[in-house]
Symmetry: D2
Subunit: 162 residues, 4 copies
């Protein structure tokens, strides 16, 4: 069984409702809850890197993600990430040639009844088990290569450039 490293960075997938502030905040426990609900049997180690809206990520944050991909020994890396700058982070990682790296996230947080988080996590994990080395984004049930994907912000879905 492949050894997989999951790097969590926050994003929509991780948000829960804070009843004191009345605002969305990040739930550090969301990844473990999802694997448990999916009855996953995979060999996965989880490293929380940060808890950020991807709109608030800067070059420094992307450097941290890049370094974590380099430093972790696993060849298979799954990154949970906000959708707004997921494509930029994928580009940042494109110089890494010897690993299979998948970025995924959610349009609706895991904490909501109608969330796509469990579905997206499933797509990403299966992709990481089967795809050759490279940098990919999986959203909307589709697998995209890092250099042919964009977020259509009007429709709230990912699509190829052409």
């Amino acid at each position: 069984m492949k050894k997989i490293r999951l790097l969590s960075t926050g994003g929509t997938i991780a948000k829960r409702y804070d009843e004191i502030s009345g605002e969305l905040v990040f739930d550090e426990a969301h990844i473990k809850k999802m694997f448990s609900q999916g009855r996953s049997n995979l060999n996965i180690k989880i490293s929380p890197l940060m808890l950020k809206d991807s709109q608030d990520m800067d070059e420094n944050d992307r450097e941290i993600i890049y370094q974590a991909c380099q430093d972790n020994l696993e060849s298979y890396i799954l990154i949970t990430h906000g959708t707004d700058t997921m494509v930029e982070s994928a580009k940042k990682l494109s110089s890494i040639k010897d690993k299979t790296i998948i970025l995924t996230g959610a349009m609706i947080p895991y904490a909501f009844k109608n969330s796509d988080a469990m579905f997206n996590l499933g797509v990403a994990l299966s992709a990481i088990e089967t795809l050759p080395n490279g940098i990919y984004i999986t959203m909307n049930g589709q697998i995209f290569t890092w250099d042919n994907v964009q977020k259509n912000k009007k429709e709230g879905k990912f699509e190829t450039l052409i």
Copy 2:
């Protein structure tokens, strides 16, 4: 984009609670609800074949599944199926050499809060987009070939034979 055919046959994934009878019954609409929740953008046609507990499937039922795999023009076929005889149905299909066929299902029905259905559907779809021709089962986040998988009924999970 690959053209995928989904054959639904019932199983745990499809069960809902019937408030008149107080029993679990099959919900024909479960597949559409799941694709909608997953915000899937894939090109998938759905064919309901039957609505059965896989424990109640006989040789005749498996023949219907086999014929549907043969008759549908798509090379990529996803079958939602009860878990108890999923392995037997996979065996039945093993003579089909020119298609990628994935069987999946759920340990907990989609209608339950803690269901693994969305996760399993994601794993199966991604597998169908990436795997070479062959017959596979995807459960518990893992991809199994038809000839090296069994359901561990005591623990309620799928595992390799050796």
Copy 3:
């Protein structure tokens, strides 16, 4: 604040899906989960009496419920109960004149996404805080007295006799 005693007896409200057997079983923890989700601040003690489909309850079971209502010191008693014989159990308790006793349950188990359990629990608790001594059933948002209620099994709802 009134001291309330909750007697749980099983019924639809308490069912969860057992992934090993593939059948509905009773979840002993359902009551605590519901109070926690409701952010209830009430002073309530919980006594699990049994875990039974109300169809399977016999005169002996109803005697146990009757005794528990008598033995517990609280004047306010909430009973979670299967819907099929809820009316019979209410009748059994009708000789108790010095307490407010409410029976409630659910048409769809708490474990399902579309459950009415939280709603029904809320209706019952508020009723117990406001109603005079007597035996009542609360279902479908309505408050019924024990001697003017029946379950319409065809439509799956409770209604008055006339």
Copy 4:
């Protein structure tokens, strides 16, 4: 059966996640979904008054609520409302002496898995069926009179003044 008027004004209970903006917005359909899930049989007419965070309500908004309570012919009025200024709106209504008016809401929106909305709606409906004329708040399973209640913002729960 009592004729009840429900006035919806927005608040936490009504929020859903907008996947285009990535923000919480108001879902006009939340009330109907809740009654349907609760399998309510009550005679209730729904009037959407506004969709506002109660923090953003001003004297003008409270005047609209006050007028709606006066203008509607029903003697039983349920108001769904944000929690932050629920107490202020209750005060505003305290001069109405010939109706039973209940204000309720939620700490966690209905759209979230762990929402208290269904529970609170149940408590409010039962209270409206049983309480004498007056202005009340129902939250955390408790019934408060308008002149003896405050929101403890630190703990996120409602409590009596003394």
